[in-house]
Amino acid sequence: MKISTGQVFERAVTQMTTQQAKLAQMQTQLASGKQIVQPSDDPDKAAIIQRLNTAYERQEVYETSLDSVNNRLVAEESALMGTDNILQRLRELAVRASSDTLTAPDRKIIAIEVSTLKDAVVALANTQDITGNYVFSGSMTKTVPFAIDGAGATLYKGDDRYVEVDVSEQLRLSMNRPGNEVFASVVRQEAGVDPRRVSFFSVIDDFVTALNNNQTAGVQRSLAEVSEMSENLSGSLADVGSRMLVVDSQREMLSDAKLRYKTLLSGVEDLDYAKAVTALSAEMLSLEAAQSSFAKISQLSLFNYM
């Protein structure tokens, strides 16, 4: 089988260039630390990497949402705890006021304290979180939830919507509790009248009125109603507390998920240095062999002996 001189050179050169190209590719891999320098090197792997990156980013987005939820919950919790304390105090005052030993002027003094405490609760009910949104307005977050109208009654100006946020692919958490559920109205049963709903602040207002007018029945009623309101508030506190627990556990899950994705990503994307360096040495060896053998073989020619 004859091989022309041209062929000898061409073949050797082609092989050496191929090896050099391989070496260049390996060198880029080693320098960048990634198995895939360009997506076109391995399109399937590139697609997997893209999906993993997306999944990782989503976990981070969920973490941001969790932060927002947490801000709200913190503001809610502090307002609720303040209100709880006040309601306890109101209850104490109601118990004291319903004692028979008190006189009308005494009751009036208690009325002053109750009135002040009511203002404090209104202020707490109108809390805003750090982003300036009213916490207890439902979805009307730029509207003051409890406002005093011309007749002196405190009315709820918000709505009863829950605002929910995605905190994971499966879990949607509500950020708020509407004001009319936290400061829930109570049902008042009176003889001869249909049962009707009386708002939270009306109960306190009625308490003040009963104290000022020295009405024992009214004070007794207020005691019962304030107790009921206090129980409702505990329910709201428990709800906030449990949501904060969910936030914490969700945070842990998210960081686990992030770690998982990062590991997967690294497995697909990152270069196995041990393997790569070994391959590099092998390739370099074969290139050296090709070069030196070419140098020797190309010297051989009949013309040397003529």
Partner: protein, 1000 residues
Amino acid sequence: MSDILSIGAGATQLYRQSLATVSNNIANLNTEGYSRQVATSAEGMPSQQGTVFIGTGARLEGVSRAYDEFVETSLRNSGSDLATQEPLIQYANRIVDMMGSQTSGLSNALDQFFATASNLSADPASSIQRDMFLRDADALASRFREISGHLSDIQTETQSSIELQITTVNTLSQQLATVNAKLSSKLTTDRQPPGLLDQRDQILRDLSDISRVHVTESPAGEVSVRLGSSSGTLIVDGKASTNLGVSFDPNNPGKVAIIADPYGTAYAASAVSNGLLGGLINFRNQALGPAMNSFDYLAQTVVKEVNQIHTSGLDARGERGQALFKIDSVFEISAPTVLDKAAISIEVVDPDAFKFSSFEMRWMETDKVWRIQDATTNAVTFSALGAEGFIHAGLQISSVGAVNDGDTYFVTPSTRPAAGFRLAQTDPMAVAAAERMRPVASEANIGDSKVSLLYDQTPAFSSFTSGTDITSLGNALGTATAVATTASNIKPAFIIPKGADNVSLMMEVPLDSNLRFQVMTHEGVHVLGHSIDTATQAALVSGDAAFSATNSYSSTYLNAVGTAAYLDTDMTYGFLAKSIDRLEYTPAPSGSGMQQTTLTVNAQIETAPVRLQDNATASTVDLIAANSLVLNDQALPPLTLAAGATSSAADMATWLNASTGTTGVTATASTIIRAPATSIDLTQQVRIGGQLIGGGSYPSDIHALSTAINNETSTTNVTSYVDREGDLIITNAAGFEGANIALSNPNAASATNALGQANQTYIGNLSLDSADKIRFTFGASGVPADLAVLGLRTGIYIDSSKDEDLAVFITGTGSANVAAGFTPPPVANKLANEQPFSIDFVSSTQYTITDTTTGTVVATRAHIAGDDIDYKTLSLTFDTDPIAGDRFVVDGNKDGIGNNTNMLLLVALQDKPVLSNGRTIRDGYIDIVSTVGNKATLSKISQEALQVVYDQANQSRDQVSGVSLDEEAADLIRFQQAYQASAQIIQMASKLFDSILGIR
């Protein structure tokens, strides 16, 4: 001796030439396409000396070229196949690198978009978040455009590349033709100069790198070349070469047409699928075209889905959201044959239906429609009536200006959808994060059920199943176009569709009929008609499925007006004519310019002839009973007819005028008989009111007849005159307006008289006038037949049917002629918001639905515990069962700026399988990139395999035609020794001759 000398001389010459050939081979070692040349020697003809043959040496037979045709062919073909792969790999990798990279690909722009949407959902009231959302939406839009731009660049590059290759092919085929011409001077291949043959083969090899060719060689070495395969287009035939051209379709990158002889008799050349050219075409066809189309489809889907969510929500101002993204498309409109071009403007209104293809539109004057032909599919469609505008394939096309029959406009979209992807909103307040409606449980509720809302449900009761839609009746109120309709107590006769305005439905009833109109909503609210008893109520709602069994009948709004009316709509049942305010322009008093005054034109109507009735009884009868008719809210007294009297228009006018002070309506009566000139029968006579006209003589002509009639006016109280058209008009004399006119003929045998009219009593009609309005309605015992006594049709007048269909019943027995007039409902406005309403539970088993804007109770329904409440397109679900007294208000979510429901829907879009193959947006994009990448990988594998084949073919060729230095060196030594030996022969011959010469 001379033989020996000549042998020697011949041999040296032969070996010198052989050495020259070997030297030539060595010199051309590195010449591309060089085939090794071998000098062949042949024995000289032997000379016969007696019986012995003595050889005469050797001579050069020829210099042959080491060439194997089959090896050459296989080398060419494998070269073609190998070259095919390279463009696909190179460009496909480029696409993958561009689209799949983290920085320039779409994935991270999508991720960022959904991430800010998620952040916005956590705080929708924040204007900073809204700003960031718009910014990232804009980034997404510009990324779409960039990627589309890159793909277009690749399209352009490959196009230039293809054109370049075609030019190269043309050059090569011309060169080949020249070589063929030179080869044609000899007859066989071995006579041809080897250099020329080498050149020929080199050109063929270059040609086959660009495209696979089929080569046929003639004995002289000329070649004819066909493109592609043995049946392909002939591009070189002897001395002639055919040029090639190429044409592209801008909308379809895969469509590349190669044209033979483009500047002469252009005809389609065979397709090229191998070689560099084939590779480029394959790339465009298999990778680029599908990638661009899929990417465009992705862009269109994203726009459609995002906009669908965004337009169903409310923005920060409480207004319905507008489209967030739009696709700009630039359209080229050319009309080479139209002199006076109309201005055509085109807008994409439905990206889903928009097909990126050219079309032509031609105005057809006879049918008044546009004829649209799609340039790709050649499908023909016709537009709706009218030149001004129509919708075609998701485009709104409007034309301003005159169009003539046959005007043709060619429309080409010149931007791909993804290239026109833009953000349509810049105002952060316009981001629609909130949901449209908000169901709120009233605070006063004793029960504590919560309600949640679903939108865009299919309404449970959408339309009535029976009854003709009035829009199909033809929009003319005249009696000529009236449709006879049979009464039914069960099924509606007509449907007034929602959105229809200014509806009038007029019914003409026979005398003494009991036919009546009733109008109801499908919730069972009776809005116009007469009071009906329970049995009739049940019958009315029984015959059509739109009436649900759970609805209760309501007559609260029956014939109500003003704010007490149903949804505050202006409705009348009876007869209505209104005064008209007209703007008039008169010179201003100051003398300069015009001033605008409002002129009120009185309401005026002319009735049909009133009812002619004789009272043959001995007592007074009522033509119209008491409590029957009400005019302008005033109850009219009964219209009586004395015993033995006949009704007349004059009496009715007098009766109406008695109430003018309270109603404001004045009535005048007139009786007119028109006798057309053509029907005048001067051979007959006529009696008017029993009085003979003409005194027994026959008038000569119409004017004489008129004079004769007027002569008797004092007796008959009837005058006549001939009008402009030549007809004879008979009417009452002054002071007797509206009196009946009786015509008869003394000749009892004739049915008609001199006037050509029937012999009977003619009754007049009324003319009513009012400065404000003329509004007849019915009292407790009134029926449409009562209005017919006055010569009036009964009508239903509805200002606007608002948002629901209304059912019109004709109850009673018999059939009436009904005509309709209306302003047609507009094309459905999809963006109209639902009206706020409230649901009040009267008891736990019954509730009412009230429209809160007008206070109208639109439905009273029975409730089954646990069921959802469906109202129009909304569906409400209760978590616990409501109790009596509970109230729920569904309002327009104003001030609900913290509501993020719509934004949550947008965030959920990333996981929604919106593409036609069930993939999400992200996956769809990754699919596009993967598909291209896979093609590149396959190509690479093919390339490796084909490289091996090519190398082997190359090696085979080299084996045959290649120059090996060692071989040539050996030949050099051989011929050199042979040359020296031959030189010795000459020397020996010379010595021999010397010895002959030396003999003394």
